[in-house]
């Protein structure tokens, strides 16, 4: 008997050791349920570095303020640096063949980076007198010992900077006479440079010595009529510019300081009408003029006259000239017809010949070509080949070589505007998912390997195999809905107007679509995406239909620009319908009603305050009419420091809209913040879909507090106008931070609280009955986080059990906003040592699981902080009962535990926003953080109490059961035999 017990105990131990719970992330768990993708953004400028380098690379600067070195073979990132949001890169170049030089922040910061690894070599600050355009010149042949000078024109000053250590050698102020310097020219083999610029009506040229910055010669000449647009420099001694009428090209010769103008009528010669635009591409000895849709190439002759060479129709982009080996120059141009791209590399000297003419098919969803950069290489047969890097309308980057797309990067994903989710289709018998499922043998093999690993008899090879199996688990990337709700589609809207669907399992792009309504057109000059809404979420009776999303955008930057509405199928990415241009869009209110096809009703408020109902069906109007008096909305007017409440009242008058889908609203309340002492800086509301499990909160002393749970509470923060600037620009005595909690139905101010000596930026998150906000405390010289919790006092007398039993409680009474709320607020502040980029809170399906705050830190990581740390009831010495309740002793600072970083070792560069999505499993929440990078993971704030972990070993469990059964039989036989022997004794 004892033997059996021992055996059983052993089995139990083995069993329990195999189903241990994870309390932190181990090294081998990285990548199991998280993924990380790196992007760079839309490329602005590219410089190739292919000579004398083993690894061929291209250095690019992007609109996301990133500098990156990309592998030319595969498009991978060698290294990447993201400069701050306010540090836009103006110019990029390569100096000395080993440094990448960047000019950023409006030409005031010049930095050099090591080309192989992206380490910063030096940095210099170039101060000037007034803002101007920024120019960077890295001359290559200054003769013997002057090879290392970089010339920078920025902020009205010309600087010569040593490229070895970033020392400013000399500085020359050129800002005094209002000249707009547009070019720095270095004539071959000389130690002077020309600084060329145009004033209102005159052309100016300075000849400056490179040695000491002395002005050798200054000449200027009036041009009657004046210029328009930018100066172009086809050769090193001639410039071309359009005159103010836009119909005459002026070629300017300035050799030796002698200025000569020569006019060239575009309209006369070719008989063209319309507006001519000088293309900014730097072509050797040529200028390109865009007239309508075709491009006119004109050669600049030695005597300064212009000669039209050719007109090419349908040109989308022209590259700069490229000089290669034996002094030949070439440039690339792209003609496009739908998905077909024609790349031509032409010689600048001889128009008739061309080096390359290729036709390439690209995905229609990439739109038009926006930019092209070309580079040459030596083919195996010693001739010159060309590759082209093209930037498309959807911000993607493609490398073309030998008539094919070698690689592409979906860099639209670096600029996500909004994210929503969609459930995957339900698994059905007809739907084939077989190709991602593996067979029983593989399953068994995998579990056997796992078993070996658990029993610690596995070889390193086996361990690697186990890790591989776990990482590539086909289960997580299936295209069907799973039981736990981990698999979803993330629908993201990017700044390029392209919509992507990403699979939460592995982050792959399921579909992508460049929305036609979000492309530049005559009616819509600068389309811009605003928000995504779930338009149709089918369940119950409409299960067979695909879900769809509503994409809301606007045509311009004004508030009264016309709006764009687009409806997209979430499974296929097809644009089902669109409405553009519509009336302006100020606010979109998803209403809590759906029609018979599960389409959600949306009320779109325009700039004049009229509401427009979508979908435009009589059924929707019927549903809406029933609730007409109960629809309230509020508007925050930051410019006028106003908060206003409105109620939707009745149909619009006939003259405004005659369609019956327009509704008028009237003002109900207003809160006026005194403009001399307060300025609105932040607002925050609860997420509409948030679920709260219980309204009651039981104290340690068996007392009940009722949370004040209302979806209509707005958190608003204001600061004194003086404190609007940067941190430290104001003394603590002049700086106040006020926070408000406002009921948005009645305009009732539930709380107004002041923080003396504090200032923004304020980041706030509102959940259940609490708000947490982050700001700077000037007195303590530290960041602070405060929490405010609101409790409902009117329900406080429901504690009596007898009343509950007798039904004399008011728990089931309908709540009206017009009743005077008796609220009690509790608040506490804590120091928090990080500055913050974004704050979010975890959300779960039923709201039972405790909450964690997700804080996007300045280091672009996501930190999970338990809400318990931000409990206003924390005291210095909690009683035993309070400790049992989970109240942490009060500290003045919030702890930052290194293990609590959700992003572990990774960084989400340029972090902008954190989104949490509840999974079906109550314990788990899905987290998606996006900036320039994307990061996705699963979180369980209270551990996975309701499920076994993914790596639970079912084979071991099975084996244990089998072993137990065998053991039972064996012992039974044993005991039978023994009994028999006893009897025969």
């Amino acid at each position: 008997m004892a033997k059996i017990t021992a055996f059983f105990l052993l089995l139990c131990i083995i069993f329990f050791s195999s189903c241990y719970n994870t309390f932190a992330l181990y090294e081998d768990q990285v990548g199991l349920m998280d993924w990380h993708q790196q992007y760079i953004g839309k490329v602005k400028k590219a410089v190739f570095q292919t000579q004398k380098a083993g690894r061929k690379r291209v250095v690019v600067s992007t609109e996301e303020n990133a500098i990156a070195a990309l592998d030319l073979r595969h498009g991978e990132i060698f290294w990447r640096l993201i400069l701050g949001v306010n540090d836009a890169i103006d110019e990029i170049d390569i100096a000395l063949g080993k440094y990448v030089v960047t000019l950023s922040s409006g030409g005031s910061v010049l930095r050099a980076w090591n080309l192989p690894d992206g380490q910063m070599i030096w940095e210099s600050f170039l101060l000037g007198s007034k803002p101007s355009r920024s120019l960077l010149l890295t001359p290559t042949n200054f003769g013997a010992n002057k090879d290392n000078v970089i010339l920078v024109y920025s902020n009205g000053c010309l600087h010569a900077v040593s490229s070895i250590d970033g020392d400013i050698l000399w500085k020359k102020d050129l800002a005094q006479n209002g000249m707009d310097v547009q070019h720095l020219v270095h004539p071959e083999e000389s130690d002077t440079i020309y600084t060329l610029g145009i004033g209102d009506t005159q052309f100016e040229a300075y000849v400056i010595s490179v040695r000491n910055g002395e002005v050798l010669k200054h000449s200027n000449m009036e041009f009657p009529g004046g210029f328009s647009g930018d100066l172009l420099l086809p050769t090193s001694d001639k410039a071309v510019v359009l005159d103010s009428s836009g119909s005459t090209l002026v070629s300017i010769s300035f050799v030796g300081g002698e200025i000569k103008f020569q006019k060239f009528q575009i309209s006369d010669l070719q008989g063209y009408s319309g507006v001519a635009v000088l293309l900014p591409s730097k072509l050797a000895g040529m200028v390109a003029v865009k007239i309508d849709r075709s491009l006119l190439f004109a050669k600049v002759k030695a005597e300064g006259t212009l000669e039209v060479v050719d007109t090419v129709p349908g040109v989308e982009a022209v590259s700069d000239s490229l000089t290669f080996a034996d002094g030949q120059t070439a440039f690339g141009l792209i003609q496009q017809d739908g998905g077909k791209i024609q790349l031509t590399v032409k010689s600048s000297d001889d128009w008739k010949s061309h080096f390359l003419k290729e036709s390439i098919e690209v995905d229609q969803q990439r739109g038009l070509v926006h930019k092209i950069f070309i580079n040459n290489y030596v083919r195996t047969d010693r001739t010159y080949g060309f590759r082209a890097l093209i930037v498309m309308e959807d911000h993607s980057l493609l490398l073309l070589q030998q008539g094919a797309v070698v690689w592409n990067r979906e860099d639209a994903l670096a600029s996500i505007i909004d994210v929503t989710t969609s459930e995957l289709p339900v698994q059905k018998d007809g739907v084939s998912v077989a190709k991602v499922e593996h067979n029983l043998f593989e399953w068994l093999k995998g579990h056997l390997l796992k078993l070996k690993a658990t029993l610690m008899i596995a070889t390193p090879d086996d361990l690697a195999a186990v890790l591989q199996i776990r990482l590539q688990s086909a289960e997580k990337s299936k295209m069907t809905r799973d039981h736990n709700g981990f698999r979803k589609l993330l629908i993201v809207l990017t700044r390029a107007g392209k919509l992507f669907a990403l699979h939460t399992g592995d982050g792959r792009i399921v579909w992508s679509r460049l929305l036609t309504t979000f492309r530049k057109s005559g009616t819509c000059e600068s389309p811009r995406g605003l928000k995504l809404y779930q338009w149709q979420v089918p369940h119950h009776h409409a299960l067979d239909e695909n879900p769809s999303v509503l994409v809301v955008g606007t045509c311009g930057h004004n508030s009264d620009a016309s709006g764009i509405l687009s409806f997209v199928d979430a499974y296929k990415g097809e644009e089902l319908n669109y409405l553009a241009p519509t009336r302006s869009i100020a606010l979109v209110i998803p209403l809590p009603f759906t029609d018979s096809t599960e389409q959600r009703l949306h009320l779109i408020i325009d700039a004049e305050g009229y509401g427009h109902l979508y979908p435009r069906t009589p059924e929707a109007v019927d549903i809406f009419q029933k609730e007409l008096g109960n629809i309230y909305w509020y508007s925050v007017d930051i410019n006028n420091n106003l908060l206003k409440g409105h109620v939707v009242k009745k149909n619009c008058k006939e003259e405004i809209a005659d369609d019956g889908y327009c509704f008028e609203s009237s003002d109900l309340w207003s809160v006026v913040f005194p403009s001399d002492s307060e300025k609105i800086i932040a607002t925050s509301t609860r997420i509409l879909s948030e679920v709260v499990h219980t309204q009651a909160k039981v104290n340690a002393d068996q007392d009940v507090l009722y949370k004040y749970i209302s979806k209509n509470v707005l958190f608003l923060a204001t600061v004194t106008p003086k404190a609007m600037g940067n941190i430290g620009s104001v003394t603590p005595d002049d700086s106040w931070l006020y926070v408000y909690l406002v009921d948005t139905i009645t305009g009732r101010v539930l709380l107004r609280m002041s923080h003396h000596g504090c200032q923004g930026p304020v980041h706030a998150v509102f959940s259940e009955n609490w708000v947490v906000y982050h700001y700077f405390n000037l007195r303590a010289h530290r960041y602070e986080m405060s929490v405010v919790e609101i409790y409902d006092q009117s329900r406080a007398d429901n504690k009596d059990v007898l009343k509950l039993v007798l039904g004399k409680h008011n728990l089931s009474a309908p709540v009206s906003s017009y009743a005077r709320p008796e609220v009690m607020t509790k608040s506490q502040s804590y120091f928090f040592s990080h500055s913050v980029k974004a704050v979010a809170v975890t959300s779960t399906a039923k709201g039972i699981t405790s909450k964690q705050l997700l804080i996007g830190t300045i280091g672009d990581q996501v930190l999970a902080l338990d809400k318990r740390f931000l409990d206003p009831r924390r005291t210095l010495n909690p009683t035993q009962a309070e400790k049992e309740e989970g109240i942490i002793p009060l500290t003045d600072t919030l702890p930052i535990m290194p293990q609590a970083y959700v992003t572990h070792a990774l960084k989400v560069e340029g972090l902008r926003s954190i989104i949490t999505i509840p999974a079906k499993l109550e314990s788990t929440t899905l987290v998606f953080a996006h900036g320039v990078d994307l990061f996705f993971t699963r979180l369980a704030p209270s551990k996975t109490y309701d499920s076994l972990t993914d790596d639970f070993n079912y084979a071991l469990l099975l084996l244990t059961i089998v072993a137990l059964v065998i053991a039972i039989f064996v012992t039974w036989i044993w005991s039978e035999k023994k009994e028999l022997q006893e009897k025969w004794r």
Binding site: G629, L642, S666, L668, W669, P674, P814, Y818, S827
Partner: protein, 302 residues
């Protein structure tokens, strides 16, 4: 224990009562001196019955604190206007208050002793209000956002469903949020609950019973802790030894298995002894069991 807590509670209550009484008496004296005449004057003007509540306790605290400093006080008035549904605003009453500006901070002006007197409804206004009740529409009020500059830029507006107001008469409750001389927000409604669905009922009297509360700004609380104090706290905590636990509390996890083993051994020893002493009986018993088994097998076979 219980009696002690009750005694404590009573003591605490007494404490509160005495302190509040002290404050009130102090405040009342001042009130009578400075304000009795004016208040009376207003009261005589108004035909309605303003049941004014001056519940601005923190402001009264301020006034007591400031008494040492020579203050310059001035009386101000600002109007309350109302509108029925979408109609235009018309005067409805007057707020009277005392403006205190302390000498050291000339910009810091505060309002104290807010009084409100309502004009009686005219016939047309009564009609308008009845219409609101019938249509379940909004009764709106507004006050200027700056009490010194009445023609200022904006009005602070608030509104309530008219059906929330009628009780016996008409009950209204103002909460005015102020910052210096600026009115930030005015919360208007009935003093109690407003049942939903709102029933249509008419009130008996056309007189307003007004409650006015001036709400000051709260200062954000912050428990001051200094890191030193916490360290001391910790040090003390370390010094204090945890209470001595009993032997059983410390070693129960070892004692229970030990006891089980001992018991097991003892029963086995007893069995052995039993077997030796009454082998016969044991055999008989076994036979009986054997017979039972045979029976059961027979049963099973059938």
């Amino acid at each position: 224990m219980r009696t002690k807590s009750i005694v404590e509670a009573v003591f605490f209550l007494l404490l509160i009562l005495t302190t509040s009484l002290g404050f009130q008496s102090d405040e009342l004296l001042v009130d009578d001196e400075e304000f009795g005449l004016e208040g009376g004057g207003i009261r005589s003007q108004s035909r309605s019955d303003p049941n004014n509540v001056n519940a601005a306790t923190p402001s009264s605290v301020q006034s007591t604190r400031k008494r040492s400093v020579p203050d310059s006080d001035s009386k101000i008035q600002f109007p309350l206007e109302h509108a029925f549904g979408d109609s235009d605003f018309s005067p409805a009453g007057t707020f009277t208050a005392r403006l205190k500006s302390s000498s050291h901070g000339s910009q810091m002006q505060t309002l104290t002793k807010l009084r409100f007197s309502r004009n009686a409804f005219t016939e047309t206004e009564k009609e308008g209000f009845k219409k609101l009740l019938k249509g379940d529409d909004f009764y709106r009020i507004r006050v200027p956002s700056n009490v010194l500059n009445l023609s200022g830029r904006e009005y602070v507006v608030s509104s309530v469903k008219a059906r929330c107001l009628p009780r016996d008469g008409l009950e209204e409750h103002f909460v005015i949020h102020m910052d210096g001389v600026n009115i930030l927000a005015i919360n208007y409604g009935s003093p109690g609950a407003c049942q939903y669905p709102r029933q249509l009922k008419f009130h008996a009297k056309w007189s307003f019973n007004s409650h006015t509360v001036l709400k000051p700004t709260e200062q954000a609380p912050r428990t001051p802790i200094f890191s030193e104090a916490v360290v001391e706290e910790n040090a003390e905590g370390e010094e204090v030894q945890p209470p001595e636990r009993s032997f059983w509390a410390k070693y129960w996890m070892y004692l229970i298995p030990l006891g089980l083993i001992v018991m097991n051994a003892m029963t086995q020893a007893m069995n052995m002894a039993e077997e030796q002493t009454s082998g016969q009986a044991g055999v008989q018993g076994q036979q009986a069991i054997g017979a039972q088994r045979a029976q059961s097998t027979v049963v099973r076979r059938r």
